[in-house]
């Protein structure tokens, strides 16, 4: 299916309430809200550039519960890149990522070539912090994936998260910027910005 293969599919996993939907909606729509609506499965599409042509970035926001194992397996096997979100206010939420990470390894095999970003969200809530930045980094090292802390609420590192994830893709050049040439500069700039904040 030609249209499908042109899509670049990103899947967002994590326990319920860590802020997956908030991150996605902050990125896609630029909005945030305090109330909580549980997600079942939503997918948003955006036009991006891929190998200098236009393609669709498809972001799938998943449920935190394990209600649909089949659906989860399907989105892993169809996904190109993964965002694993926990909340820095909950150690439990980091623990809950383990089975998902393992399932990605199991279905995808060679995970090193697959862009995976471990994300500690809600880093605006420093007073409630249960997971230190170093803990997140350590886990990322173990999983051989990238790491970032974000706040969907403060719009901190959100766009960077998605750009970084796409930068990890080595098999093709994917970028949020539709104009391919500009994007390299942009990428580097954003990379720097992202790093600065994390440290």
């Amino acid at each position: 299916m030609p249209e499908q293969s042109n899509d670049y599919r990103v899947v967002v996993f994590g326990a319920g309430g860590v802020g997956k939907s908030s991150l996605v909606l902050r990125f896609v729509k630029g909005t945030f809200r305090d109330s909580y609506i549980p997600t079942i499965e939503d997918t948003y599409r955006q036009v991006i550039s891929c190998d200098k042509s236009i393609c669709t970035l498809q972001i799938t926001d998943t449920t935190g519960s394990h209600q649909f194992p089949a659906m989860q397996r399907l989105s892993i096997s169809k996904g190109h890149a993964f965002i694993l979100v926990y909340s820095v206010t909950s150690r439990q939420s980091l623990e809950e990522l383990k089975p998902i990470y393992e399932q990605i390894c199991q279905i995808k095999g060679d995970t090193e070539s697959i862009p995976i970003m471990l994300v500690g969200n809600k880093n605006d809530e420093d007073h409630n912090r249960e997971v230190q930045t170093t803990d997140g980094e350590a886990m990322a090292k173990k999983w051989k994936c990238a790491f970032m802390e974000t706040s969907a609420k403060m719009n901190h590192n959100v766009k960077e998260l998605f750009q970084e994830l796409l930068n990890l893709e080595k098999r093709r050049t994917v970028s949020l910027q539709i104009d391919g040439k500009k994007s390299k500069q942009q990428k580097r700039k954003e990379k720097l910005k992202g790093k600065c904040v994390v440290m």
């Binding site: 729509k29 909005t31 809200r33 079942i40 939503d42 194992p69 089949a70």
Partner: protein, 634 residues
């Protein structure tokens, strides 16, 4: 030569006619569910009424249905349309003469208006306590008629309210002077009998009738308080207790059940194991998941009551999309649109309810603004197909047929009797959900498309002929099982023009199969009001899965042939004919279906396959495939 092909072609025009929103406040029933079958089918008048009529001479009632001198109708009350051959409830062939003891049915002596009919029935029921069953001969049938069809002239809650009123009157002390001794008890007993029969009939769907539930509760409490009844009507009271329990009426003051389990309705949310489980009926209060797409094919999944209105659905979607508390300015209002794989779009009205089960097989719900409406296109997976052999090639025709029949029996059993009445007569007196009937019709159409899809995805002529053979065998086995629904669907599927035009494929079919298929075509031939089929059906003993679309067609004709109210009086004959039709359905299911099937892994695989087809329901796409396979046929 191929009558069904003709019949399939006819639908196009009917569809167009149906797509036009209905007049008045009545919502048009959207065409998509029953796309293949119903519209053309229902509109096509029986070709030869007298033929059908003479067949039922043994059972004169059918002929009495529309005598011009009927006590209920003056000749002038017939519109010219009704007198045309297409009108009239004739042409009916009773499924079985013994389904109802004909000797017993005597219409009420006098026609009545809707408000007094219930009183009349009560008189009839309470009138003769010495009769064999405690009430008058034929009263059983009258009772059943009224319970099944009262919604044609009286909303259910009002019907119950009248019962309540009658019970109150009978409880008054002192009784009216004109009443005989025991008259009050007789009347109370009659109310009880109607209530019992009502509860028994409505079992399973009463939870959905909130207002009716309240009246029942009041009536129940009233009866409970009436100590005078206890020594005379112990049996009835006991039965009432039991029934009230089994129908799960919330007799105690209590709100909705907090968290019902979400039922898998759409393919996306069906777990692998759940499709193998026995189907249970859907109810309006059930929660389901549904994807709602945006013009760019983004989607959100909402959790909704099955009976939710379009407005409710849109509210959930808006809530998800405008994921922001700080956005006070309302964006342009969203509309909900069903987009079929063919690209056909239909806008759903905000007050429409229970829309999920009315979507076509590969239709999806889209939310968009008026501006983006023109840009809506079907999902890519609905318009792209990759030819190739599927699982069916590895399966035995008999296994496939067995699993089809077993599944369709489950679906058929999930349909409540009253759904048939409500499907045809709905819109006139409120709306009750007919989800299970809609799903059955949808499935019927799915099976037709499945046959065409499988044949047309198969690229080698030899294998294709083999598939034709397989499907003809499937039809034959289903017919043996008395599963006429699957039988019909498979035959119609093979007769669908993109398949039937494959001359090379059909030519290679062995003569034996050609003959068999010709027989099947004759059996499904709609001529003379489906005479061949009706004759075969008459000879069958339950369990039977009838070709449900034909039942709906018959009910529609009953409905259109005569008015429910004539000069303000209830047309009891019509109620009776409708109820008779419903009783034929009851009879089909009066005995359980037992198919012997192993549960080997291979069988389970076949079972899973049969229960979740992936079909192409886009006729243009099917034609495209067909022309690719055999371009110069014809």
């Amino acid at each position: 030569m191929k009558p069904l092909e003709k019949f399939l072609k006819k639908q196009g025009s009917h569809l167009a006619a149906r797509a036009v929103p209905g007049s008045g406040g009545q919502l048009p029933r959207r065409q998509s569910v029953s796309k293949i079958l119903l519209p053309g089918f229902l509109k096509e008048p029986p070709e030869d009424l007298t033929e059908g009529g003479t067949e039922t001479t043994g059972d004169g009632r059918w002929l009495e249905l529309r005598p011009p001198d009927s006590a209920l109708r003056s000749p002038t009350s017939f519109s010219s349309e009704e007198l045309s051959p297409g009108g009239g409830g004739g042409g009916e062939t009773q499924l079985s003469p013994e389904s109802v003891p004909t000797c017993c049915w005597v219409p009420l002596a006098e026609p009545e208006n809707p408000d007094r009919l219930v009183g009349r029935v009560l008189e009839r029921l309470g009138g003769d306590l010495t009769a064999p069953h405690g009430h008058g001969c034929g009263a059983d049938i009258l009772l059943d008629d009224i319970v099944l069809t009262h919604s044609l002239f009286l909303p259910t809650e009002q019907f119950l309210h009248q019962l309540y009123q009658h019970f109150m009157t009978a409880s008054a002390i002192p009784s009216p002077p004109c009443w005989k001794e025991d008259e009050a008890v007789h009347r109370k007993r009659a109310v009880l009998i109607i209530l019992l029969h009502f509860l028994e009939t409505f079992k399973g769907i009463l939870q959905e009738e909130e207002k009716a539930g309240k009246v029942i509760k009041d009536l129940y409490l009233l009866i409970m308080k009436d100590a005078s009844l206890y020594h005379k009507l112990e049996d009835e009271i006991l039965k009432l207790h039991q029934l009230v329990e089994t129908v799960e009426l919330k007799v105690t003051e209590e709100t909705h059940p907090s968290s019902k389990q979400v039922k898998p309705l759409f393919r996306h949310f069906r777990r692998i194991d759940s499709c193998l489980q026995t189907r249970v009926a859907f109810r309006g209060s059930d929660e389901i998941f549904c994807r709602v797409y945006m013009p760019d094919h983004s989607y959100v999944t909402i959790r909704s009551r099955l009976s939710a209105s379009v407005q409710d659905i849109l509210t959930s979607v808006t809530e998800k999309l405008q994921y922001s508390d700080e956005q006070p300015t309302r964006e342009e209002a969203l509309i909900l649109v069903a987009v079929a794989s063919s690209g056909e779009k239909s806008v759903l009205q905000p007050n429409e309810e229970c829309v999920f089960t009315t979507l076509g097989i590969n239709s999806h719900l889209f939310a968009c603004t008026k501006d983006t409406f023109p840009s809506l296109v079907p999902l890519p997976e609905e318009i792209q197909v990759s030819p190739g052999d599927t699982e069916i090639h590895r399966m035995e025709a008999e296994d496939v047929a067995n699993h089809l029949t077993a599944f369709h029996w489950e679906l058929f059993r999930c349909v409540h009797e009253l759904e048939f009445v409500d499907y045809v007569f709905h819109g006139e007196r409120g709306r009750r959900e007919t989800a299970n009937l809609e799903l059955l019709l949808q499935r019927c159409s799915e099976v037709q498309h499945w046959v065409a899809t499988e044949v047309l995805l198969c690229e080698s002529v030899g294998k294709r002929t083999h598939l034709l053979k397989k499907f003809i065998k499937v039809a034959a086995v289903c017919k043996q099982h008395q599963d006429m629904l699957t039988f019909y669907a498979v035959v119609i599927g093979l007769n669908n023009a993109p398949v039937s035009r494959l001359r090379l494929t059909w030519e290679k079919l062995p003569g034996k199969f050609k003959n068999l298929f010709r027989k099947f075509e004759n059996l499904t031939d709609p001529c003379r009001n489906h005479k061949s089929y009706r004759e075969v059906l008459t000879r069958m003993k339950p369990p039977i899965i009838p070709f449900v679309p034909l039942i709906l067609k018959d009910l529609t004709f009953l409905h259109e042939a005569s008015k429910t109210l004539v000069d303000g009086l209830v047309n009891v004959e019509k109620l009776h004919s409708v109820a008779e039709k419903v009783r034929t359905i009851r009879k089909c299911r009066s005995r359980p279906l037992c198919l012997e099937m192993e549960s080997s892994p291979q069988q389970l695989q076949t079972k899973a396959y049969v229960r979740q087809f992936q079909v192409i329901d886009n006729q243009n796409l099917l034609f495209e495939l067909s022309h690719k396979l055999e371009s110069n046929s014809q």
